[in-house]
């Protein structure tokens, strides 16, 4: 509070009076392009969000097509929200602020355009492939390998453009926001590459290089850090630029912002294992994740308080200024989410909250409150400046604020109740030691009214966005885009070497193409080196004697399970709690997943866990259940998968799949790919005959076709979690336990 802006030196204090003043312009056009993309994809992401929210309680909202069913639309929603809506805004916000903080035009207009169009093409390909069921099934990294490569390349273009701009800067000091941007670039590049290492088996199909518990660890190392470095660090950087700008006050403590940055980036990367508490991940790794997660509260709250305290002396303006209103809620939501995160990472709370609606509630405080509202702050503040005008209507912006805030509350509060309710219902035993809610479906039906309110909240949030889009269109119409905004600033002297020549990077920055080629080569070399160890580790995959590779039919069934996105609602991970072992069976062991490329543990139980599903029901039960879940489970909210009963099973890729799995360390014998199809049809026929028998009634002999996808899916579902039971009873079990604990 003692720092007084008034006593500070005037505007351009560090300049050398002898330095030549250079004239240049800022590229506003690229910022505006990214803004348009933000608005368009924000609308799409939220519309799909409302659609998936409706499907939770009204499965008919899947419109009876595979393309719009929850398992495919939910990844579409998350990808659109994170990478299209938030991603485009991050680029817009960074490109606007970076130029002004550094007093330099972006490094290369060409790279800016490649970046923009490349990113939009990636989004387009995601919008096409995800509804088609083309997915790797790893959450927030569902896109298949060619798109993964495109993401890496476009990301590198972004990085070169940013670093190039930094190299030709005219302000020597790099404001703290820029460090958040750099961390975003560097870390996301590494995360994306490490998590996306997969073995392609066809143009749009691949298997994760890692298996089972290892794949789970890599995925959540990525998943957590994607939240950290795609949804958090860029927004903290943007906060440090746009908050002081909007409040017209310097950040409360610049020193704190520096401490905030360095402590945050050093701690965040270790917290990933908190997504795998009570799984078969080694205990010490779980504990490591917990410790770092709890530590994270310090830097997170340092940043949150720094943001709020920046508004000191400006609180009166919060009343009228919608931008500041959004800011206050955004920063508060950040504080809430980052308090909740460490709390959820403790084993005690995690045991109740995990797999329930508490997690999406937590996530949406962050995305709707923090990311969404920060996005609105930036857009309301920046767009009038891009067009040299004022905001069309403050009243509409205020209306947007209240609609959006109400939307968030109606979204998250019911989900907290829902999470608690379901989490506790799962655990409830009666006096005689039986599960009170033995039928899982009861616990899902109990929370449906809360899901109605949630869908209303999401719809309100979308309405708020539409109000903003109208306001933006009106604002834009009353101004004119300042595509190239002129500015002037003294040259930075250190760019010249003592003998008057340009420093090395001054030379490089004049050759953007060469610079880019060099960087891509460097990244490729890095990638090859990175991949070496993953090839080495296969030989060390731990195995349980009775755990066998999937049969060809089960493998195909598993791919259908992934295609339909079953893992979005069903986990395959029984935790070592009494209520779970009573409900599902033996808890999951690491050795059971060694042939799972990728792992399919899931993260949410809208439906029950499936890891011990095998052998629990008749084949015909699955057959009917997948055709219409209400036939077997009254009131079920699971969508119908009728197309599985019609689609012919495509086995064209089977030889490739077997060969790829062998490459990844699954012990199919050499040459098995030639025999695999024969085995597949043999198993399919056995299932078909069982189905015929079970489904036939007197006088009505049923003939089920054996070449449909449902047969493969049944084969997979009936296999799930059964291998461990195949162990001869005497003494074997203890040995499995021993071999697992020694790992």
């Amino acid at each position: 509070m003692t720092s007084t802006p008034a006593s500070a030196p005037p505007a351009k204090p560090h300049t050398d009076p002898n330095a030549p003043v250079e004239h240049f312009s800022y590229d506003n056009k690229i910022v505006w392009m990214f803004v348009i993309a933000t608005l368009v994809f924000g609308f799409v992401a939220m519309l799909v969000g409302v659609l998936v929210a409706l499907q939770i309680f009204s499965p008919a909202m899947n419109l009876d097509t595979p393309y719009t069913t929850f398992g495919r639309t939910r990844p579409l929603h998350t990808n659109a929200a994170i990478f299209a809506f938030v991603g485009n805004l991050v680029f817009a916000g960074i490109y606007y602020s970076l130029q002004r903080l550094l007093k330099a035009r972006l490094f290369s207009d060409t790279l800016s355009r490649i970046h923009f169009w490349g990113w939009q093409l990636i989004i387009l390909s995601a919008a096409i492939t995800l509804p088609l069921g083309i997915t790797t099934s790893k959450e927030y990294a569902e896109l298949e390998w060619p798109i993964d490569i495109a993401i890496a390349l476009v990301w590198v273009v972004f990085g070169i453009n940013m670093i190039g701009t930094i190299l030709k800067r005219r302000v020597r000091h790099m404001y703290v926001a820029i460090w958040f941007y750099i961390a975003t670039f560097a870390t996301v590049a590494v995360l994306h590459i490490v998590n996306s290492i997969e073995l392609p088996i066809a143009a749009l199909k691949s298997y994760s290089m890692y298996s089972g518990v290892q794949d789970a660890l890599v995925q959540w190392w990525y998943g957590h850090n994607a939240v950290a470095f795609f949804l958090t660090t860029p927004f903290l950087g943007l906060m440090y630029y746009y908050l002081p700008k909007a409040a017209n006050r310097p950040v409360y403590s610049y020193r704190l912002s520096i401490v905030h940055f360095w402590s945050l980036v050093f701690i965040y990367i270790w917290a990933g294992p908190h997504h795998l508490l009570y799984s078969s991940l080694p205990d010490w790794a779980q504990s490591l994740g917990v410790v770092f997660s709890i530590m994270l509260i310090a830097p997170s709250w340092g940043g949150m308080l720094n943001g709020l305290l920046t508004l000191r002396g400006a609180w009166d303006r919060v009343r009228e200024d919608p931008v500041l209103k959004f800011l206050v809620v955004a920063v508060t939501a950040y504080g809430m989410a980052t308090f909740e995160g460490p709390m959820l990472s403790t084993k005690t709370i995690n045991s109740i909250a995990h797999f329930t609606d508490w997690i999406p509630a937590h996530v949406h405080v962050g995305t709707l409150g923090w990311n969404g509202f920060m996005i609105f702050v930036i857009l309301y503040w920046m767009i009038p400046r891009l067009f040299g005008t004022q905001l069309y209507s403050k009243r509409l912006a205020n209306a947007h604020f209240w609609i959006g805030t109400l939307g968030i509350l109606l979204w998250v509060i019911p989900m907290y109740f829902s999470g608690f309710t379901q989490g506790l219902m799962w655990k409830e035993f009666d006096a005689d030691g039986y599960l009170v809610y033995n039928n899982f479906l009861e616990t899902t039906l109990q929370i449906l009214p809360l899901h109605h309110v949630r869908a209303l909240g999401g719809t309100l949030y979308l309405v708020g966005l539409i109000v903003m889009i109208y306001n933006v269109v009106k604002t834009v119409k009353q101004g004119k885009l300042v595509a190239n905004e002129p500015d002037s600033y003294p040259a930075l002297q250190h760019n010249l070497t003592p003998d008057g020549k340009y420093a090395w990077h001054r030379v490089l920055e004049r050759r953007p193409v060469q610079f880019m080629v060099l960087s891509v080569v460097a990244i490729l070399i890095g990638t090859v080196i990175e991949m070496m160890p993953t090839f080495l580790i296969e030989s060390n995959v731990p195995t349980i004697a009775s755990v066998q590779p999937y049969t060809p039919l089960e493998l195909e069934g598993r791919d259908i399970y992934m295609r339909e996105g079953c893992y979005n609602c069903h986990s395959q991970w029984v935790r070592p709690f009494r209520n779970e072992t009573v409900r599902y069976g033996e808890y999951s062991k690491a050795g059971e997943f060694v042939y799972d490329h990728p792992f399919l543990w899931g993260s949410r139980r809208t439906g029950p866990d499936l890891h011990r599903l095998g052998g629990k029901y008749l084949d015909s039960w699955h057959y009917n259940h997948m055709y219409d879940p209400t036939l077997t489970s009254q009131g079920s909210v699971m969508p119908r998968y009728k197309w599985l009963h019609e689609n012919k099973l495509d086995v064209a890729l089977l030889p490739n799949k077997i060969a790829a799995m062998r490459t990844l360390g699954v012990p199919y014998e050499a040459g098995y790919e030639r025999k695999a199809e024969e085995d597949l049809w043999q198993q399919a026929k056995a299932i078909k005959l069982r189905l015929d028998k079970e489904l036939s009634t007197e006088g009505n002999a049923v003939q089920v076709p054996m070449d449909t996808e449902i047969i493969a899916l049944i084969a997979y579902l009936q296999r799930l979690g059964t291998d461990i039971k195949a162990v001869p009873p005497a003494g074997q079990k203890a040995e499995i336990g021993k071999s697992l604990s020694s790992k």
């Binding site: 500070a8 560090h14 490490v194 890599v218 310097p250 610049y254 160890p533």
Partner: protein
């Protein structure tokens, strides 16, 4: 669980990069002055000098 060593390796790699950047920051005098930068960034508006 060999993969954890790879992850730790990459995490350390990232941490090292940040550490190097931090050392560079301090050495090159980026943090000598923590008063001017937060004020200076407020004044870079060419077309909208509100203050």
């Amino acid at each position: 669980m060999e993969v954890i060593f790879i992850l730790i390796g990459f995490s350390l790699l990232i941490a090292m990069i940040f550490l190097a950047a931090f050392v560079w920051n301090v050495r090159s005098g980026q943090y000598e002055d923590t008063d001017t930068p937060p004020i200076r960034m407020l004044f870079d508006d060419t077309e909208n000098p509100e203050s």
